[in-house]
């Protein structure tokens, strides 16, 4: 349980929220209903709304469950006692802007979804050491079988490519997005937007893509050039492989000579439940 120090706190919070008196819910519910009217206009919350909503979301939690219609059982479909917001079958209810903002934290390559904020390489180094280095190593070189984040540039055509943020990842937005949604492992959603900018900046620095005095922000985010941005192309199996792989198969006398064994799995001996399994384990899957 020590992996999840926030769990006890979270449970306590949940208990408090559940115990909130009905009277206290009323204003929140009205606000939520008013906000629902704006929901149709919402496509993607801008950064300011995201910030605001993040603050508001804990307070709004009781309203979340009673917003569109207030059934006694929040899991009873709203449409059971009236009309849902769905356009064909009248199922579901309108999503509130703060609900959308709470969950819609994705960031696209064009920067859409980036929150306001900034973070420096200098701050990022401290944050990285505290939050990331136990798995990724102090310099992003990776501990054990955890993913390396730095190095490997120019190795993609090698026998053993080293795929890191610097050598492989085509878009910087993916780094920010992924840290924001899933890192640190076992303690997701614990870093602030500025802290994520700082850690992202430090990872760039570890890859020699920005200097030590660099400060990453929403404004300069798209100026960072990722070395392997041009290294990807769309699946072309249909045009490249299918002409060969749709030839009528040979059924008889398909080989001139009797085939011989060229490689044995037993040589490596990495199968579980066999002697010495994993002794010469190949690189990990991530």
């Amino acid at each position: 349980m020590s992996r999840f120090p926030d769990l006890a706190l979270g449970l306590a919070l949940a208990a408090l929220l559940a115990a909130a008196p009905a009277a206290a819910q009323q204003p929140a519910q009205e606000a939520a209903t008013a906000a629902a009217a704006d929901a149709t206009n919402l496509t993607e919350a801008n950064a300011e709304e995201v910030e605001k909503a993040s603050d508001a979301v804990e307070e709004a939690k009781p309203a979340d469950e009673t917003a569109a219609t207030p059934p006694a059982d929040p899991n009873a479909s709203p449409a059971a006692s009236g009309e849902g917001a769905g356009r064909v079958l009248a199922l579901g209810r309108a999503a509130l802007p703060e609900e959308v903002a709470a969950w819609d934290i994705d960031v696209r390559p064009d920067g859409r979804g980036l929150p306001d904020g900034q973070g420096s390489v200098v701050d990022g180094e401290v944050l990285f050491t505290d939050n990331c280095a136990s798995c990724h190593g102090d310099f992003g070189e990776a501990v054990d079988r955890w993913p390396a984040l730095a190095g490997g540039q120019g190795t993609l055509a090698d026998e053993d490519p080293v795929k890191t943020v610097g050598s492989y990842w085509p878009y910087l937005s993916t780094t920010y997005d992924y840290i924001r949604r899933a890192m640190p492992f076992g303690n997701a959603h614990s870093l602030s937007n500025d802290e994520i900018y700082a850690i992202t900046a430090y990872v760039l620095n570890l890859n020699d893509l920005v200097d030590e005095d660099f400060v990453l922000s929403r404004d300069n985010f798209l100026t960072v050039e990722m070395p392997n941005a041009g290294g990807f192309f769309q699946d072309d199996r249909d045009t490249v492989e299918l002409p060969e792989f749709t030839q009528a198969p040979c059924m008889e006398s398909c080989k001139a000579a009797a085939p011989e064994i060229t490689k044995h799995a037993a040589v490596l001996d990495v199968t579980p439940d066999t002697p010495d399994d994993g002794a010469e384990a190949p690189p990990p899957m991530q």
């Binding site: 199922l91 949604r181 085939p259 199968t271």
Partner: protein, 430 residues
């Protein structure tokens, strides 16, 4: 639960000695093969000649197992992990015991698991599914809402794109479970994604869909709208019962024929957009690096593939020469499997295998090839041909296009070398 009233007797022990005496020696993986190859008649079989305890005493009552699990003799039919593959088990994978299964349906308890932040417990009561982005009306559904949409049933395979990924550079793992076990084939009950999206009203510029999970990895994948509206489902049942926790209870995405990573579990959000999001799992992972260092992206479709599940390294031949049933599974992300061919001589001559059971679009197929084995070593392979005419290639043919480092989408023909004792090994051949 009470103990079984059938107790072991001295007679049992004697029977066990009789049984094991008939076993051929050798075979590191033979521990599970406790059924003798052939009973050599040395007088009357005590299993027949003597009254056995199960024919005397009473078995379990109906209340003994309110939710049934396999009998103790089958306790080795389990998912297995390959510990060296990943840093730890919460972001890892285990493998379906293909070598011990038959038919086309994978039992729920042995469907392989792949998690990126552990398998979470999310109740139906706490479940919410949001649709947002380029829609006329952003919506939130409860679990109860999902059950009010028209339901569909469909059997399809889910194969991890990394299935057989450890075999690109050469044979590495000795067992169909490990080389091919990142797959399962399940009957899903759920609702069509297009019906859910219609409730929100997709705007004309909405060409992509982002699916997101509720676990701590918040798994995300971009799916083209054309596929989303075609045959994708949000499923809440597998093989009739609720989804297993490790398969995304209470609701997951089903993306027939496409790589398993896109089948987002614990599905919590669907966002409509006008371009892909290029998330971690579709850039840094699940992209296929070719020999020149450039990488294919959006390799969603699973190519046709097959494997002989028995005999195989974990399922050696124990009965000696004579009648032999060769069996395996085949599937294609492009349609049905039209034919499966089996060779016993490493691909010099191929034979039509017999497909038995339902032949369904983007589902596993079961094949059999029955023969008389003369007891000589064999090089066993199977080759699937799908309904589009795609012929499962050799591993070397794949390597000519992709090199050794593409990790994903290895659908090459698998070879098992069976020796005169019936033991099988994962090999490659000329």
């Amino acid at each position: 639960m009470t103990d079984s009233p059938v107790k072991e007797t001295a007679k049992d022990a004697g029977r066990r000695r009789f049984l094991t005496a008939g076993l051929a020696t050798g075979g590191a993986l033979a521990a599970s093969a406790l059924v003798p190859a052939r009973a050599i008649a040395q007088g009357a079989d005590p299993l027949i000649a003597e009254v056995q305890p199960w024919a005397v005493q009473l078995g379990d009552g109906v209340d003994a197992h309110p939710y049934g699990t396999p009998i103790s003799f089958e306790s080795d039919v389990i998912r297995r992990n390959v510990p060296w593959l990943t840093a730890e088990t919460m972001s890892s994978i285990n493998f379906t015991p293909l070598h011990q299964l038959d038919g086309i349906i994978t039992p729920n308890g042995v469907c392989f698991e792949r998690h990126h932040a552990g398998s979470i417990e999310l109740s139906k009561a706490d479940y919410r599914l949001m649709i947002n982005g380029l829609v006329e009306q952003p919506l939130v559904f409860t679990y109860a809402d999902l059950e009010r949409f028209p339901r569909e049933n469909r059997i399809c395979f889910l194969e991890c794109a990394a299935n057989s990924g450890m075999e690109w550079a050469g044979p590495q793992l000795n067992g169909a479970q490990f080389t091919h076990g990142m797959i399962h084939n399940v009957a899903y009950t759920g609702v069509m994604l297009k019906d859910l999206l219609a409730e929100a009203g997709v705007k004309p510029e909405g060409k992509w869909l982002l699916a997101e999970g509720a676990d701590a990895s918040a798994m995300t994948r971009s799916i083209p709208m054309e596929k989303a509206l075609d045959d994708c489902m949000v499923a809440f049942r597998m093989n009739g019962e609720a989804l297993r926790k490790e398969q995304g209870y209470p609701a997951r995405l089903v993306v027939p024929g496409w790589e398993g990573n896109m089948w987002v579990k614990w599905l919590r959000r669907l966002e409509v957009g006008d371009q892909p999001w290029e998330q971690r799992e579709e850039t840094s992972k699940y992209t296929d690096t070719l020999e020149d260092g450039r990488s294919r992206k959006w390799t969603w479709v699973m190519d046709a593939k097959s494997v002989i599940t028995s005999p195989s390294p974990q399922a050696p031949i124990r009965h000696g020469k004579g009648r032999l049933v060769i069996t395996g599974v085949a599937w294609s992300g492009r349609g049905t499997v039209a034919e499966v061919h089996v060779t016993t001589d490493g691909g010099v001559n191929w034979h039509q295998a017999r497909i038995s059971g339902p032949s369904l679009d983007k589902s596993m197929h079961r094949f059999y090839y029955e023969m008389d084995w003369d007891g000589r070593p064999m090089l066993l392979q199977s080759r699937a041909v799908d309904s589009t005419g795609y012929v499962q290639p050799t591993k070397d043919a794949l390597r000519r296009f992709r090199g050794l480092n593409s990790i994903y989408h290895n659908n090459g023909i698998q070879t098992w070398a069976v020796n005169a004792e019936g033991e099988a090994e994962n090999v490659e051949i000329s």
